[in-house]
């Protein structure tokens, strides 16, 4: 088994707001334990508003008010060293980002400066993040990198508006991987792209992962994309990871009722039988239901579900589930 490279321990990050004098706490990331291994693609799936993006922000240490770190740690394992990102100062964090971990935010095609050519953007980036001797031949490095990834070289002389959305997305991913980071964190990299272009972006991410043998954490609500790219998947619901396993097991044998709904509701070719979506609507993160946050929508609701929060426990080898039904105890279903 590979070494773990990024780990969270009981991570809690809440948005603390003040609405007309009454405090309001949005529990976006609530006691999340993750262990992401070297050289794997880890997918995080879940519906909008379940805290996926906030989790990523916490992973790269980008916590700014109103978001607050309430508890827990984010640990990076770098060459034998264990670093807690929240113990670093701003300068150390800046060095860690891009060189060791790079973050491709959602809608990243709009991060490019519209009034300068892309090669200037590349130079800006190399000058602020790379070592001195790299700066001298910034253009050459940019050119080599673009060619390596199989993108056309003429884009370096283009302005962002001249490229299509898909090309801009790929340019941004190329920019994020310029310094060969060990971890790439991508937030909805294929959302708002066409299917063919989406396939191109997934292909690019896979190519990069294969070449650099690094780790990719990819967040997307699209289960089809998850099935295609991820090695392991964590399903997030209302700020918590509710199920985590290998892609094959998540799709082949989902245990949590929410995951079952997510997978069974997907339309498939050659099968026109009626698909049911998850009943009800997602809970508000300000006012979470008592006990298991999924219980108001769950068809198997029991008394204990409304009282106690199930914890994420190992059910089988490498298959963790947070559900009272899946446990070994008195509530567990005989499997």
């Amino acid at each position: 088994m590979n070494e773990s490279i990024l780990q969270t321990e009981q991570l809690k990050a809440f948005y603390v707001l003040d609405v007309y004098g009454t405090p309001k706490v949005v529990k976006a990331v609530n006691e999340v334990d993750l262990e992401i291994k070297e050289n794997e693609v880890y997918g995080i799936a879940g519906e909008s508003g379940c805290g996926k993006t906030t989790l990523l922000k916490a992973l790269v240490g980008a916590i700014e008010p109103p978001l607050r770190l309430v508890g827990g740690r984010v640990l990076y394992h770098m060459v034998g060293d264990e670093v807690d990102i929240f113990s670093l100062d701003e300068e150390e964090k800046r060095r860690l980002r891009w060189e060791y971990v790079s973050y491709v935010p959602q809608g990243s095609m709009s991060v490019l400066n519209p009034v300068i050519k892309l090669k200037e953007t590349y130079r800006d980036f190399i000058e602020s993040h790379a070592s001195k001797d790299m700066r001298a031949d910034a253009f050459q490095i940019a050119r080599n990198h673009i060619a390596e990834l199989g993108l056309p070289l003429k884009i370096l002389d283009a302005y962002p508006h001249q490229l299509s959305g898909g090309m801009r997305q790929r340019v941004t991913i190329a920019l994020a991987t310029l310094l060969h980071p060990r971890i790439i964190i991508a937030d909805e990299p294929t959302t708002a792209l066409d299917v063919v272009v989406q396939r191109g972006v997934v292909q690019l991410l896979k190519d990069i992962q294969r070449r650099l043998e690094n780790t990719i954490v990819v967040v997307t609500h699209d289960m089809g994309v998850q099935a295609n790219i991820a090695d392991r998947i964590g399903i997030m619901y209302a700020g918590k990871i509710v199920e985590e396993s290998t892609t094959e097991r998540i799709f082949g044998n989902p245990h949590h009722p929410y995951t079952q709904y997510l997978i069974n509701s997907l339309p498939r070719f050659g099968d026109k039988t009626t698909r049911k979506s998850v009943p009800g609507s997602p809970p508000s993160l300000v006012n979470l239901p008592s006990g298991c946050p999924f219980h108001p929508r769950c068809p198997y609701e029991m008394d204990i579900c409304t009282e106690q929060v199930p914890s994420l426990v190992n059910r089988d080898l490498n298959h963790k589930v947070a559900c009272w039904l899946a446990g070994e105890g008195e509530y567990g279903k005989a499997s």
Partner: protein, 320 residues
């Protein structure tokens, strides 16, 4: 065979730039199709293929360059709206953009009742509104005097469908109705279209880029590419046995939710979009694996192969 809506050689040309360097883009190029009563017809393709432009021309939001629209046998003049919108209602992509955030949602319902049914007493109107909200799984109590921000995207989309149903339409034009709705709630909207078709005999023009839901819900489908309909026919035939190379590419590119069916082949993407619009001959020739000389100089004719219309030289009889 009865046709509810027929679109014949609908064309829209957009021109950009100054008088000296004008670029003309044909967003919809001689688009022809028809919709039968109680049928879900999908218009699918990637962004920029002209599917939304076509819908906007039908709804009269966009002036057409040429072509005719026939609605239950009658020609629709360019300026006519009222009798037409009573039978044809639209549902848009972004449910949050459909409603004004500062107005309560029920005011839209009362307005629609007033505009289409004349003056009614409030009780009658509420009864009517409640009836249509029940069709989408909501009630008047849940909706009355609440603002759009109090609903989820899926709920709002169902509210906008209920609003459209108020005029007893026979055709709904739904432009990407599920692309902004959460994956977990997407099927509830799509299933609603099925129910409306089966119970109220409402036809739906379902515009989407998501072929998986298109396959699930629709009866017939047209695939658009750069302004042209390249393949059209019964959904089973078009999507399970695609004939045009573009349909094949689209079909292959849909990520299947099955880790055993990962993509094994590689894909080449178009470098610059407008180059494809301006291409002479078949617009897909630059990316088509089977492109021959004839494809780059002559526009392929529409050929019927086994009930399916295909716009490809391979079936025109002139393919070497």
């Amino acid at each position: 065979m009865e046709k509810l809506l027929e679109v014949d050689h609908l064309t829209k040309v957009f021109s950009f730039g100054s008088m000296l360097s004008r670029i003309r883009i044909t967003a919809a190029d001689n688009v022809s199709f028809y919709i039968k009563p109680a049928e879900i017809f999908a218009l699918a393709g990637e962004s920029g293929c002209g599917k939304s432009t076509t819908a906007r021309m039908i709804l009269g939001f966009e002036e057409r360059t040429s072509g005719t629209i026939l609605y239950s046998g009658k020609k629709v003049a360019r300026s006519e709206k009222v009798w037409f919108t009573q039978g044809i209602q639209a549902i848009f992509q972004d449910p949050f953009g459909t409603f004004n955030p500062l107005r309560t949602v029920d005011r839209y319902f009362f307005e629609t009742v007033q505009n289409y049914m004349g003056h009614r007493s409030k009780d009658v109107a509420i009864k009517l509104i409640d009836h249509h909200l029940k069709a989408v799984g909501l009630t008047y109590e849940e909706v009355s005097s609440r603002y759009p921000s109090e609903f989820s995207g899926g709920q709002l989309q169902r509210i906008s469908i209920a609003r459209a149903l108020l005029t007893n339409p026979i055709l709904l034009i739904a432009d990407e109705p599920v692309s902004m709705v959460d994956a977990s709630l997407r099927m509830s909207i799509v299933n609603l279209f099925k129910t409306l078709k089966e119970e109220l005999a409402v036809s739906v023009l379902y515009i989407t880029h998501d072929l998986a839901t298109a396959y699930y819900v629709s009866d017939r489908i047209a695939i658009m590419f750069r302004g042209d309909i390249v393949e059209m026919g019964p959904v089973e035939k078009v999507l399970m046995d695609p004939k045009h190379s573009y349909t094949k590419l689209l079909r292959e590119s849909i990520p299947e939710a099955d880790p055993k069916k990962r993509w094994s082949t590689r894909v080449t993407l178009a470098e610059l979009e407008h180059e494809e619009y301006l291409r002479v001959g078949c617009k897909f020739a630059g990316r088509c694996p089977g492109a021959k000389e004839i494809c780059t100089c002559e526009v392929p004719p529409n050929t019927y192969v086994d009930d399916v219309l295909v716009k490809c030289h391979r079936y025109s009889g002139r393919y070497p």
